[in-house]
Amino acid sequence: MTADHGHEAGRRPGPPADAGTKRRFELLRQMLRIRRFEEKCVELYSAAKIRGFLHVYIGEEAVAAGIVPSLEPGDAIVSTYREHGHALARGVPLEALMAEMYGRITGVSRGRGGSMHLFDADTRFYGGSAIVAGGLPLAAGLALADRMRGHRQVTACFFGDGAVAEGEFHECLNLAALWRLPVLFCCENNLYAMGTALARAQAQTDLALRAASYGMAAWPVDGMDVLAVEDAARQALGMVRDGGVPCFLELRTYRFRAHSMYDSDRYRDKAEIEAWKERDPITALVSRGRADGELTDEGLAALEEEIAVEIERAVEAAEAAPMEPVADLTRFVYSERT
Amino acid sequence: MPSLGADMDAGTISEWLVKPGDTVSRGDVIAVVDTDKAAVEVESFDSGVVDELLVGPGERVPVGTVLATISTAAEQASEYPPPTPTGPPAPQQPAPPESPPPSPEPAAPPRRPPEPPPAARTVPVASPLVRKRAAEAGIDLASVHGTGPGGVVTREDVERLVSPRATGRVRASPYARRIAGELGVDLSRVTGTGSGGAIRALDVHAVTERAGTVEAARAEEGGGTAPREATGEERGETRQEGLRRATADLMARSKREVPHYYLSTTIDLSRAMTWLRERNREVPVEERLVPAALLLKASALAVRRVPQLNGFWCGDHFEPAPAVHLGVAISLRGGGLMAPALRDADGLDVPELMKRLRDLVARVRAGRTRSSEMTDSTITVTNLGDQGVETVFGVIYPPQVALVGFGRVVERPWAVGGLLGVRPVVTATLSADHRATDGYTGARFLGTLDRLLQAPEVL
């Protein structure tokens, strides 16, 4: 589905679909797909189909949608426990992601990881790490390997504002700058480390400034504006890939739901949440598309329909998928030698 | 699951002594429960027929769990003469004897057999526990001479027959046990040369080399019982450790939570000792009294007069106890401590108290405490005089609020009215919970105790 679909419907003929229009529609698709997937996860969690910890990305979709598709196929991604969006944007099959939520053998991690630990070798998706800042050293090592072998690949490393308080963050930014490692550090600053507001945990809340102190390019980006994120990502990736240096983006964003399923959300004002929802990146892009005549109601409905079908099929497949046999519990503790 | 102590949250059924269909009467011992602290016999608080056992042996359940259901219909059967049977004969009981048994509370009180005895054969009366023990040991009860009241077979009667077969646990290494089994060597005939006399493989080999296989084969006959005895012994060790741990927990809790204060006074016992001596001269040896009985009685009476020390601290307030159940601290062979209750000690005369005390000590040391004795002590008395100690500063058993300690009765120079004499004296101490009382109350108790002991004849 593209914007052409609406054009063909012919009710509100807009300007011809240029490359920019197509691109914006693609961004909308990415964000909407993440939003609807997360909403389904919330529903399934409430029905006890999904268990454990579940951290959804609702509100932050513009970050993944703006950055991840800007990567090249051979690039690597290291993420956190709030990583469904990154995986979806990366092209990890939605069906395999949903199966992982269900803990099935057909899940991306064969049911061993769950929501917080999605892995996919095909897309070099090196997982959600549930240790805050625990993924940064891996990203440095992946980048080191690529650089030592003369590859032009980049490692994108996602983490939250909470990670900036960890020692590993500072060790890794220093190491990456010192060794000129091709890492794009993507700090998703949603203002809360679980329930602790940024200003209550960090003396200097300008996170880009702190990254810059290690001698790398670093700047803040409006993480609720997918187009701004995409622009920043392209610029930063160019510096990393061509300049052979790390780069740091502070993506100022907000999660609309609790930290994980069912926290009491007592630490945030309702008014604050509502104010951020006014800046919903999906709503913003839809409004803009409509105003510009790029997006029709039919086009949007068709997109919604396409996504709903994909998700429903994934749920059906997950429901029907087999479990890993308990006999295989200890498989993959060590490599299987042939 | 009854609460068998303030510190008990759960218990394990170690055995049922009744089965569905058995008739039980109020007060019958129906099960043995392991509380970590002791194996306690559980009494039935109802009369009737056992419907269903809901908790199996080995199961650990919280206090308050229903263990079994008893249909009280049978209670009527015991209260009224059985009607002429019209249907199939149901298990029924003869009416309880009108006169109470001669001994007030023997270890194994007489029990009515749960089933009508076969007419042709006389099976002596025995409690379910005794029956079970006899069955386990393969002893026919009909062959046992009962020494209990009215010819009742007591547990001791059965144990006497069992014990000659029971040997002490053999200390042997696992390897020595294994090869002894393979070679048919009876470990009880092997002399161990290992540490602590443990039998090791070379000791087993020495026997076979010395005796040859014929002797070894003969020795095999007696070998069968050893492992079973070992198991029992091992369980005993575990219980002792459990007891230690339970004591440790309770005492630690006491020292952590209870602000103790301590008072001490030395009491002139010359009148009490004189009275005892004279009284003991008149009675047979087995009825003689020891000073401890007087001290206990005096303590019970004193605490009745100072009731602020008799009861429990419940969270944030003191609850006086309606009766005086004197907890008596008894040390166990092989370590550990229990403080079962002498119930209504203030109402017993001294000879009766003495008798109860003897019975209690014997049963506690034999590991046979009744559930009612394990609960509800309202104040504890500890007497370490036997150990040569002069003064005891005890730790209170929560939730009780006081503990009385007595040392040894010693002769000391004693001045009265400006004249010096030699008198037998005892040091009495009071450990009390400062949340419940102040030193003034404690002092009143010790003063009362002193006065009471000056008039032994009215105790």
């Binding site: 049911g111 050293p137 891996l138 090592g141 992946l142 080191l144 993959f332 | 390897y175 493989a201 070379l202």
Partner: protein, 326 residues
């Protein structure tokens, strides 16, 4: 190639040199491994030979460079990461436990981590309580990693290539007291089998189990006991995880007695694990209680006499064996 006499340190260096020369995926990184030549001079000269890309001095950032080693391994490299001492490795424990040991399983078999992490362990050089502990037993608790402890010059030479050939993380513990010990080195590129414990001295009367630095004390004790007519079988565990039960239990089945020497603290130790395994698998072979000689449960003190008193000494091993033999 003729046998030659080398130190444990030289044997490790030789193994590193060969690995760096033979496989361009291999690189060495750690604090002061380059210019300084290694805290214990193991990598002396390698920077000059292989350059700063492959012999990388790192900042004092244990978590970052150990994690980077794990990340590079994920990407197909064969990093050898050196941590100065096991005490410092605790700063990287997150990476070792939460990433290296878990990634393969957590990813459903997609990502193995062929990293080798070397570190010095143990006491004996009066380095006091933050440089002297023996925490390899902790690491041996963790499924997903392999833990080895070369105790001889030959193993120092041969374990590294075997570890580098392993597709999973290998932690190599080098006892500080061994670096200057000398021994014979056999053939040139012989990998050693790290799946098997080694019987370093055969005997019939008791099995004496040791590893790494404690092997020295065990062998000394065995020699002394031999003078009394007690022949002890000395087993060098070599691999602390997974433990070679078959060799240990097989020996106990022959001798019926076991004595374990462990430089870790007794409580919750490797010696406790071994003791349990023996009773689980050979209870009815035991003719005496299992004896353990462990480090006193104190932080290792500086003063020489106190440090010696804290550590498992040959005399204590002799005493324990005498007690077991009775």
């Amino acid at each position: 190639m003729n046998e030659k006499r080398v130190t444990y340190r030289e044997a490790l260096r030789e193994a590193l040199r060969e690995a760096l020369a033979g496989d361009d995926r291999v690189f060495l990184m750690g604090e002061d491994v380059g210019r300084y030549g290694g805290c214990f001079a193991v990598s002396l000269g390698l920077l000059e030979e292989f350059g700063p890309e492959r012999v990388r001095d790192t900042p004092m950032s244990e978590s970052a460079f150990v994690g980077a080693g794990i990340g590079a391994a994920l990407a197909g490299m064969r990093p050898v990461v050196e941590i100065m001492t096991v005490n410092f490795s605790l700063l990287a424990l997150d990476q070792i436990l939460n990433n290296a040991a878990t990634l393969l399983h957590m990813s459903g078999g997609q990502f193995n981590v062929p990293v080798v992490i070397r570190m010095a362990t143990g006491a004996g050089r009066q380095l006091a309580a933050q440089h002297s502990h023996s925490l390899e037993g902790w690491y041996a608790h963790i499924p997903g990693i392999r833990v080895v402890a070369p105790a001889t010059v030959e193993d120092a030479r041969g374990m590294l290539p075997t570890a580098l050939a392993d597709p999973d993380p290998v932690l190599m513990f080098e006892h500080v007291s061994l670096y200057s010990t000398e021994g014979e080195l056999g053939g040139a590129d012989r990998q050693v089998d790290i799946d098997r414990a080694a019987i370093r001295r055969p005997g019939r009367d008791a099995t004496l189990i040791a590893y790494g630095g404690t092997l020295v004390a065990a062998l000394a004790a065995a020699e002394e006991l031999s003078g009394e007519g007690i022949e002890v079988e000395v087993i060098d565990l070599r691999t602390l995880r997974p433990v070679d039960d078959a060799t240990v239990v097989g020996s106990v089945r022959r001798t019926h007695r076991a004595v374990i020497v462990d430089e870790g603290w007794r409580s919750g130790s490797l010696s406790a694990e071994l003791s349990t395994r023996i009773t689980e698998q050979a209870f009815y072979e035991l003719d005496a209680g299992i004896e353990r000689v462990c480090t006193a449960e104190v932080p290792i003190p500086y003063a020489r006499h106190l440090e010696e008193a804290a550590l498992p000494q040959p005399a204590a091993v002799v005493e324990a064996v005498r007690k077991a033999v009775g």
